[in-house]
């Protein structure tokens, strides 16, 4: 349970980090909170020859509220979201989600950007980024580029971030006032990886669903935004019956893989349940007076 030998660098700026990435190429690996990487190094499943530590790069930590967008520094710890980071539905939603990420000590160390780059299919932040169409600010030798969530997540543990690039910030569009949000996750134990989870946001006007955001996680290679179901919800009566009908389409839209904690068949049905529950929670949230 000891990692293979590696060298270690602790740059203080993005440009220094990029220079180190360029220098070490394929054998270099970025370490952020280390909550996934260090265990896999100890199991020797990962054997980076060089670790480039992001923890001293002040410019990619912290959260900035730009009114319609929340700019989240990649090194922002999960624990930063234990209380709302901004007013309105998005701040409340992030706080609802964060309690499901592993355990309290892990949330003190693990980072928002680290979760996105690791791209575990059961990552809560990846699901949030996919569902609310976050834009990822990626820095490389040739400058900065922004990649939307739809193009960022390539598959299990795979993203658009190149080997010589780093994720600096996440631009998360904020939901306007008036939206209700809901999140539901099922795992074997509290804090375990989700077997299925869903995040939902609804805007209700005149008893009808005026707009919707919906995503489901841990049942495909990466978190999925369910745009067809968002459209199916929109314009329908804001009722649990509507939600149940729409959620019934979920099993056909997901592609879970089975493992020792649950078969693909079970997880397809579970996905329907978590979607319905997240939507119901969002609906209930809409009804709560501001």
């Amino acid at each position: 349970m000891k990692p293979a030998a590696f060298s270690y660098h602790r740059p203080e700026t993005i440009s220094d980090a990029l220079a180190l990435l360029a220098e070490h190429g394929d054998v270099g690996k970025i370490i952020a909170g280390g909550q996934s990487l260090v265990p896999s190094m100890n199991f020797r499943l990962a054997r980076p020859e060089t670790l480039i530590d992001m923890n001293a790069i002040a410019e990619i930590a912290g959260i900035e509220d730009r009114g319609d967008t929340l700019v989240i520094g990649a090194m922002t710890r999960h624990a930063a979201f234990h209380t709302p980071v901004c007013d309105g539905p998005t701040g409340a939603m992030l706080t609802r989600v964060v309690g499901n990420i592993a355990h309290y000590p892990i949330r003190q160390r693990g980072t928002f950007g680290g979760s996105l780059c690791h791209a575990d299919p059961a990552s809560e932040w990846c699901l949030v980024a996919a569902t609310f169409d976050a834009a990822m600010e990626i820095h490389g030798q040739d400058g900065m580029r922004e990649v939307g969530a739809a193009d960022f997540f390539k598959g299990t543990f795979t993203t658009a971030v190149g080997g010589d690039e780093l994720l600096a910030r996440i631009h998360l569009p904020k939901l306007p006032e008036g939206w209700g949000t809901g999140f539901y996750e099922f795992s074997r134990r509290r804090g375990d990886f989700a077997l299925a989870m869903a995040v939902a946001a609804l805007k209700v006007e005149g008893g009808k669903i005026a707009d919707a955001r919906l995503g489901v996680g841990a049942v495909a290679a990466h978190g999925l935004r369910l745009e067809t179901l968002e459209q199916a919800l929109t314009g329908q009566p804001a009722t649990e019956e509507t939600i149940a009908e729409v959620a019934a389409q979920v099993p056909g839209l997901v592609k879970p893989s089975g493992d020792i904690h649950g078969s693909a068949e079970y997880r397809r049905d579970l996905a329907q349940a978590v979607v319905r529950r997240a939507l119901n929670a969002a609906l209930a949230d809409c009804a709560v007076p501001a």
């Binding site: 074997r188 804090g191 904690h261 649950g262």
Partner: protein, 760 residues
């Protein structure tokens, strides 16, 4: 409120929830566990383990590893060929010998994780780096993974005819065929318990040092059975017993699996002698889940002959224990206990059982807290529920009708287990059931659950009635040293795995002498300080060592009285002993003064011997709801009733019961060693082997009774170690079964299995 007079407070040290003596070093960080031990010049050992479940070793290439800087030695079987296989500590059954494990694999590997080679290096990092460079060429064979399938050859092509069924344990009493001939109905059931085990949070570890002057090798990091292991290691290394000493430090949990003699213990001692350097080995978590004893994994086929009133006339049972790749130190213990205790608290006048020990290509199995009883209670109590359903009786009523009556105590089951005749020494089973029903308001609880089910909810409750066993002999020795300053040192050969041995024994001593526990020190698990000791297993310490302490303390009183008589010039018959003082007409001496009068110290011994175990008993109750969509189980209420005979420290008893319930919840709902078709283990970290946390644990309500003290030991005590887990699988399965309205025949009840059950 003023403090009670010291004498009054001290007079009843037994039966009080005194704080644990052992907690001060633990809470202040002074306590040393195996991994805290470091000595100058130590060498790190790393075991290279088989990556495949079954195969024949053709070559192990160690050259590259040997060239790595810092590597001192690399051994394979050829280097330790003189060491014999690890022998049985318990339940040696004819024919088991060829199934024992070598210290390092010889010719074949039989499970993923089997030690094939071992590296010694200057640092832990170098040792792991070297282990990575060792390549074994193995001709893979098809893994045999089912204990219920027909037996196969263990060493194909080499030991022809040696099949994977080392033994079948058969027991019985009464006329089973006549019972079935007379039956109104026959109730049949097949059930199985998954593979799981005790997972102490402290993994195994050892530090062995050889002293060239005395030629003694000392291994620190011992646990559970230091005296037995010391003898076994000495035998394996070809040394006189006194050339091996084992020393126990603080131990972070035992649960039956920690402290048994494993290959690694023998390797560190052997290497310390051969390499002439201290050898340190600390197991990592992955190794622990692959290499330390697994347990449970039994499949039962039960047939009960039942009369029209729901009374069992006869039970015909067969079961299969998945022993894994080898038979380890426990021999046939788990299977033997399961066979003996399957009938539990019920009369069952005719009984016949065949317990099959079957090898597979999985990690070898041994005992885990309530071995053979967690499983057999689950099987039997599922059967009772089935009989209740078929006869239209409530679950508590079918049990009540079958319980052994108080008047039948002591109850002779007319079978043997662990070399003792199985006689339940005392019990008021029906009385405990009635008290528990009252505490739970069971009838109303069941009505309320039925209403919830009528309303479409999945909710239910279940009972698990069990008999435990405790206090396995044959003996335990205790020596008390009373010093001139009045302090007392208790030296015992039993072991502490964290269960509160020091506090318990100090309380028995203090209670017998009528003094406080503050000046009492307890030394345990040190083979150099006392010549014998059976160790900590089978819920035996309080019964055996506690009784020995009482006997020793009484001997101490006699000696102190004698010394006081001389000092006071009195006739010993005129002296009385009370609250730590010897008093007579001409004066009184404290224990300290008596020791001074005796020359500065009084030493007294107590040896407690027994040929029978004592049998505590109890009932688990679980109420659950099942989420029909997520298939998750919520434990709404959990309670345990337990008659312990007599309590030494109620707080420790409560802690034992509640802690064991947690492990029972794990085995019932979460924990399982899953293998793929090739025999690769899929739960090799605590991310996949799911132990319950505080978040999964319900509040546990306890009904602890002292209505049936044991008549076979001087304290009347019965043990607390295993009753909290014994009935957990049974009660939770009964509850889930009632919630789902269908038969539940398998543990653990994972969401996946519940999903299948709900969908039929």
């Amino acid at each position: 409120m003023t403090d009670a007079p010291a004498d009054l407070a001290n007079a009843n040290a037994i039966g009080r929830s005194l704080r644990r003596i052992e907690d001060r070093p633990l809470l202040t960080g002074q306590a040393a566990f195996a991994a805290d031990l470091r000595v100058e010049g130590q060498v790190h050992m790393r075991v290279v383990r088989s990556p495949v479940a079954f195969g024949r070793i053709t070559e192990i290439d160690v050259d590259e590893a040997l060239e790595l800087p810092g590597v001192i030695a690399v051994w394979t079987h050829a280097d330790v060929a003189a060491l014999p296989q690890i022998d049985f500590r318990m339940t040696r059954i004819e024919g088991l010998g060829p199934y024992r494990q070598w210290v390092l694999a010889r010719d074949f590997v039989r499970y993923v994780g089997e030690p094939m080679a071992v590296v010694f290096a200057e640092t832990g990092f170098a040792a792991e780096d070297a282990a990575d460079l060792i390549f074994a060429e193995i001709d893979e064979l098809d893994a045999h993974l089912s204990a219920t399938a027909d037996p196969v050859e263990v060493y194909p092509g080499v030991e022809t005819g040696l099949l994977s069924e080392p033994a079948v344990i058969r027991k019985g009493a009464g006329d089973v065929d006549a019972a079935f001939a007379a039956a109104d109905r026959v109730v049949e059931l097949e059930v199985a318990v998954g593979r799981h085990t005790g997972v102490p949070l402290e993994t195994r570890g050892a530090l062995a040092q050889h002293d060239p002057d005395s030629d003694v090798v000392t291994m620190m990091g011992a646990a559970k059975v230091p005296h037995y292991n010391r003898g076994a290691i000495a035998t394996m290394l070809g040394l006189p017993t006194d050339k091996v000493q084992l020393s126990e430090q603080h131990v972070g949990g035992g649960f039956g699996i920690r402290g048994e003699l494993y290959p690694e213990d023998v390797l560190v001692c052997h290497a310390a002698r051969v390499l002439g350097r201290p050898i340190r080995w600390i197991e990592d978590r992955k190794e622990h889940l692959l290499a330390a004893n697994h347990s449970r994994d039994q499949a039962y086929r039960l047939r009960a002959a039942v009369d029209p009133e729901g009374v069992i006339l006869g039970l015909d049972a067969a079961f299969y224990t998945d022993q894994g790749a080898y038979v380890r130190t426990h021999g046939g213990t788990v299977t033997d206990l399961a066979a003996a205790m399957l009938p539990g608290p019920y009369r069952i006048p005719a009984y016949r059982v065949a317990g099959h020990i079957r090898l597979t290509n999985k990690t070898p199995a041994g005992t885990y807290r309530a071995p053979g009883r967690f499983e057999s209670t689950f099987a039997r109590e599922r059967l009772m529920d089935e009989i209740a359903d078929q006869c239209g009786l409530s679950r508590s009523e079918v049990r009540r009708r079958n319980l052994i009556p108080e008047a039948a105590m002591p109850f002779d089951r007319q079978i043997d287990t662990l070399g003792t005749h199985l006689v339940y020494d005392s019990g008021k089973y029906a009385d405990l059931l009635e008290r528990f029903r009252t505490m739970l308001d069971l009838d109303r609880t069941e009505d309320a659950l039925a209403e919830r089910r009528d309303a479409g909810e999945m909710a239910g409750c279940g009972l698990g009635f069990f008999v435990e066993k405790s206090g396995l002999g044959p003996d335990d020795l205790v020596r008390l040293h009373l010093s001139g300053d009045g302090t007392i040192r208790i030296v015992t050969g039993v072991a502490s795995v964290g269960q509160g041995v020091e506090t318990t024994l100090a309380q028995v001593c203090a209670g017998t002498l009528g003094i406080g526990i503050d000046g009492i020190e307890v030394i345990h698990g040190q083979t150099s300080l006392i010549e014998k000791g059976m160790g900590a297993f089978a819920t035996r310490v309080t019964v055996m060592a506690g009784s020995a302490v009482k006997i020793a303390a009484e001997a101490l009183i006699a000696k102190a009285t004698e010394a006081a008589a001389k000092a006071l010039g009195a006739d010993p018959a005129d002296l009385t002993f009370d609250a730590g003082r010897v008093s007579g007409p001409s004066g009184a001496l404290t224990l300290a003064e008596a020791a001074q009068a005796a020359g500065g110290e009084i030493v007294a011994e107590g040896l407690f011997e027994t040929t029978h175990m004592t049998y505590p008993y109890g009932i688990h109750f679980a109420q659950v709801s099942v989420d029909p969509e997520t298939c998750g189980v919520t434990i709404e209420r959990y309670a345990v009733a337990y008659d312990i005979g007599r309590m030494v420290n109620p707080m420790l008893v409560e802690g034992q019961l509640v802690g064991a319930v947690a492990q029972g919840v794990g085995g019932a709902l979460l924990e399982e060693f899953v293998y793929d078709e090739a025999g690769q283990p899929l739960a090799t970290s605590l991310a996949d082997y799911l132990m319950p946390t505080a978040m999964e644990m319900p509040e546990v309500e306890l009904l602890i009774r002292e209505d049936a003290p044991s008549p076979i030991n001087p304290l009347g005590v019965k043990g607390a170690g295993e009753g909290g887990i014994n009935g957990a699988g049974a009660a939770l399965a009964g509850a889930v079964s009632q919630a789902l309205g269908r038969r539940v025949d398998r543990l653990p009840m994972t969401p996946e299995r519940i999903y299948r059950w709900i969908r039929g």
